[in-house]
Amino acid sequence: MIRILVTIAIGALFGLGFGKLQSRLATSGFEERFAGSRATLAETRGEKSKAEMVEQSTGTPKVEVVGGTQFEFGTMLHGESMSHTFVFRNVGDGPLNLDMGASTCKCTVGELKSSVLQPGEETDVTLTWNAISISADFGQSATIHTSAPDSPEVQLIVRGHIADSFVIEPRELSLGDLSVSEPISKTFHVFNYLKQSKELKDFAWSDEKSKDKVKITSRPVDIDVEKFPQHKNALSAYEVQVTFDPGLSLGQVNARITFGTDLDEKVGTLELPVAGRVSGDIVLVGGPSFDSKLNVLRIGTVKSSEGASVSISMAVQGSGRDDVRPEIVSIKPEKSLNVTIGEPKMVGERKYFPLHFEVPKGAPETYYAGGSPKDFGKVIVKTNHEFNQEVSIHIQLIVAN
């Protein structure tokens, strides 16, 4: 019996010791495997935690992103996925702590393999973009917080373009101000990313009223990589020329150019919005004091003792532009307002004549409040232009002592 009890006691002691050992090993192993627990491992192994290393370091970390913090994917096909790996290097002389901050994008941010870099060490961050958006362009970012004194956060940026099959550059065609009397041409480019496609076809102008005044032609061209580096991988390119004949209706142009390809089934109709304005050969333009729709210059109330001045421009375009000579033939109120014409200047297709309006100091009292059509002053500019021989400017002006 005693032997049995002794045996039990020995067994119990042995088992207790063995169990404790097992338990300790199991827990320790667990912590090491799963926790990477800095505090626990530091305690058990006497190693420093990441935070401790950074805190206790005497050197200064400095972060360098090898190859820069931005990467251009260029043009990606819809549905395609591309990645770029940014390499972070500690070029300082103290440990560098890295933490992933906000990612403002749909990028997939790869694992940051090491969050503490000793001097000279490197780590990777991979940004992946899946081109599923319907937007043509994308630019996305992710932020890495660092312990480097001069770079507390590093913003990584990837950007590029998504091409379904064809890309139109620019994405909208701005015509600016068109002359009613002169033809004008604009061009845009189409880049093809489909192997099977050989041609563009069926160009159409959406605005029925101006359809007969618009001609659209296209021709294959070499890809100008310097001008369009984002399309260096396109398979072919086309230059499309849009010519507007004289005689368009005055006012706004809002239309679309549509066209097809030899892969209509797959690609569908392509389109480009177009906007601009058709104006006469002589137009008056000016800042906020001038209403160009009504040709009204609002000088407002002026103290006679102070006087005032303001300038607008007479823009001349079209075939008679070079020979036009404007002159002031009438000023009302004559004694309270001086008007002079300055030296013209060519900008683009237009010649601009500055018109200077001055209410001289000491001008007599004047009252053209502009309350009714008769209640305006008036300045008449005469030109030798074939179709626009006289231009009137209505003046709203009160001169008070």
Partner: protein
């Protein structure tokens, strides 16, 4: 033999007891359940929802275990397009940060952690100070951001987080001499549309005005500046939008505004009329290196604002990278660096003590300009993507600081200027969230904008009819329902059915402003429009009176115009049986292609919930229908 039996018996007993005691010892040590094989999986919600940090009590063993498991759950495939989920894998809270127990059913916790986005971050903070705090603001900021994004939404979605709706404005700033408010890259988003709930969305002049008012109520000398791109398209509607924005800027007393590349694409006449200067009327819109009509006085190069004893010089440039985007021959582009040099000299001569450059340029070019033209204290850049950084950036090779503004007007930033040699400048990024209530005067302005669209009409706004690429015309959902009655019944019980009504009488707090004359709204809220280009197809919606069959987002918006199919089925045209089947097949939208079709309206701006993982399947359940009855 007996002795041998006895020995074996004793040995057996020892082993049994050893086993029992071992088991007991293991249980006494009480390791976390996750130490067994029964712990939640790495992808369980407990791990997906990171918890906020508290720099207080030390972690228990089990807590350490939980926070330590994050690195084990890296699964790029599982987080495709959800980069933020992956971000959790690299979170390494400081050693004394406690992460509370997370249960699989734990809801998201709203955060008030110090150092979150609402806490000012000092550009001039000594870095050592950050490192000396174990639970540093940086770490907390990271935790905050990740937690707030745990909804599986792409972060670029216009969705305000809980902390973005509860920001404290510069809580610990002393009285500044002046405060710059920076904004830009509005891209036409003059208001959050409310499609996904106004509470969720960021941005809008209606809120920005309230934010600026709150800052002014502090007695601050506020100097709002903007780095440009108020619109993103060309045509009449963007012009009217630009005009409204300029009027709003005047009301908000903006002191300096750059013109962006997209602004310069507008009609020059309208641009100058709305935003230009002349001798009688000064505008805050500035341009150093882009000149319209050869007259630099229309957009002056700089402006000097005197506030709080400071003389602040503001100037603006368009970067060379945008030169190619200028299409009008009336506009001249000059080298920004050469044009800026004399401007800086002039600002110096006039005694400016703080010089600001509004650089409508990429990040790289903005920095390069600062290096090439020394003297700017602050560069406000239109470069960058997504959210602005939390800190001001130091420009390498230049003493200038740089600030981003983000996109779509979702963020602003305040830069305090102090009479303090140690911290002369402080910065805080601010989300323009629903925290800032609607400004009544901006609502009135927005109503005027909608009225201007109404007055112009679809045609003058460029939303004129275009033949559908298929050559077919729209018949209306009721006609479809003649044969597809169960599909029609399903549709009538979805929000698609009420899509037009919802913009005629919006049910949100801005309901007094109908939007059914706004092509940008109608294109997704009625039948027969191009949703991304904002124009109607022939026979598409005009008004409830003129085209009653085209109200709601009807069948044909997804399946295409049905005229030929209907005519063939009704025997109005003679077709072969093969052609009949072909026409039927043309109307079929396979589920595999449906998602792309939905995305034309359920885009990231207007329907961020649609971009959550698995959202399409959930949405489809709500509208599910198949073919003919």
């Amino acid at each position: 033999m007996h002795q041998r039996q006895l020995v074996w018996q004793r040995l057996f007993l020892v082993l049994v007891l050893s086993g029992l005691v071992t088991l007991n010892a293991c249980m006494d040590s009480k390791p976390s359940p996750v130490a067994t094989n029964n712990h939640p999986s790495a992808d369980s919600p407990a791990n997906r929802h990171d918890q906020p940090s508290k720099s207080s009590a030390k972690s228990s063993d089990s807590e350490r275990v939980k926070q330590s498991r994050a690195p084990a759950k890296v699964d790029p495939d599982a987080v495709n397009d959800q980069g933020l989920v992956v971000l959790e894998t690299v979170l390494t809270p400081a050693k004394d940060v406690t992460i509370p127990d997370a249960s699989p059913s734990a809801p998201e916790v709203s955060l008030t952690a110090p150092g979150n986005a609402s806490t000012p971050t000092l550009a001039t903070d000594p870095p050592a100070a950050q490192n000396s705090e174990p639970a540093s603001p940086t770490i907390n900021t990271v935790a905050t951001t990740v937690n707030s994004r745990s909804t599986n939404l792409p972060a670029e979605a216009n969705v305000a987080t809980a902390e973005e709706r509860n920001q404290q404005l510069a809580p610990d700033w002393p009285q500044p001499q002046a405060v710059l408010f920076v904004s830009g890259q509005q891209h036409g988003y003059i208001e959050p549309c409310g499609c996904t709930g106004l509470e969720n969305q960021k941005g809008g002049l209606i809120r920005r005005d309230t934010l600026l008012s709150q800052l002014r109520e502090r007695g601050w000398n506020l100097v709002p500046v903007d780095v440009g791109n108020q619109v993103r398209r060309i045509g009449r509607q963007p012009e009217l939008k630009f005009k409204s924005t300029v009027e709003a800027f005047r009301k908000m007393d903006y002191q300096g505004v750059a013109l962006g590349a997209d602004d310069w694409k507008l009609s020059s006449i309208e641009l100058v009329q709305f935003a230009g200067s002349d001798q009688l009327s000064k505008s805050p819109f500035l341009s150093t290196n882009v000149v319209v009509w050869g007259d630099p006085s229309l957009f002056p190069s700089h402006r000097i604002v005197e506030v709080g004893g400071r003389k602040i010089g503001i100037t603006a440039v368009l970067g060379s990278g945008h030169k190619g985007e200028l299409q009008s021959s009336e506009i001249e582009f000059f080298d920004p660096i050469e044009r800026l040099k004399p401007v800086v000299e002039q600002l110096n001569q006039e005694g400016c003590t703080f010089k600001v450059l509004l650089a409508h340029a990429s990040l790289e070019e903005s920095a390069e300009i600062a290096r090439q033209v020394p003297g700017f204290d602050l560069v406000v850049t239109a470069g960058g993507f997504g959210e602005p950084t939390l800190n001001l950036e130091k420009i390498e090779g230049s003493p200038s600081l740089m600030v981003q503004v983000g996109t779509k007007g979702m963020y602003g930033g305040i830069i305090g200027i102090f009479d303090d040699a140690q911290q002369p400048v402080r910065y805080q990024r601010i989300a323009v969230s629903s925290q800032f209530k609607d400004s009544q005067r901006m609502l009135a302005m927005f109503a005027e904008y909608q009225q201007a669209l109404t007055d112009a009409g679809f045609d003058k706004l460029g939303a004129n009819f275009v033949a559908h690429p298929t050559g077919r015309t729209f018949v209306g959902s009721e006609t479809c329902g003649d044969c597809h009655s169960s599909a029609l019944a399903t549709w009538e019980n979805t929000p698609h059915f009420h899509a037009t009504t919802s913009i005629i009488e919006p049910d949100n707090e801005r309901g007094g402003i109908p939007r059914h004359h706004d092509p940008e709204c109608v294109s997704c809220h009625a039948t027969g429009w191009n949703p991304q280009q904002y124009y109607p197809y022939e026979t598409g919606y005009v008004s409830p009176q003129e085209t009653p069959l085209m109200t709601g987002s009807g069948c044909e918006n997804c399946h295409g115009p049905g005229s030929e199919h209907v005519a063939a089925e009704l025997g109005e045209i003679d077709v072969t049986s093969e052609r009949l089947k072909e026409l039927q097949q043309q109307m079929v939208l396979p589920l595999a292609k449906a998602r792309d079709k939905c995305l034309e309206c359920h885009d990231l701006d207007n329907s961020p919930d649609f971009h959550k993982e698995g959202a399409f399947e959930d949405y489809w359940e709500q509208v599910k229908h198949y073919g003919k009855d």
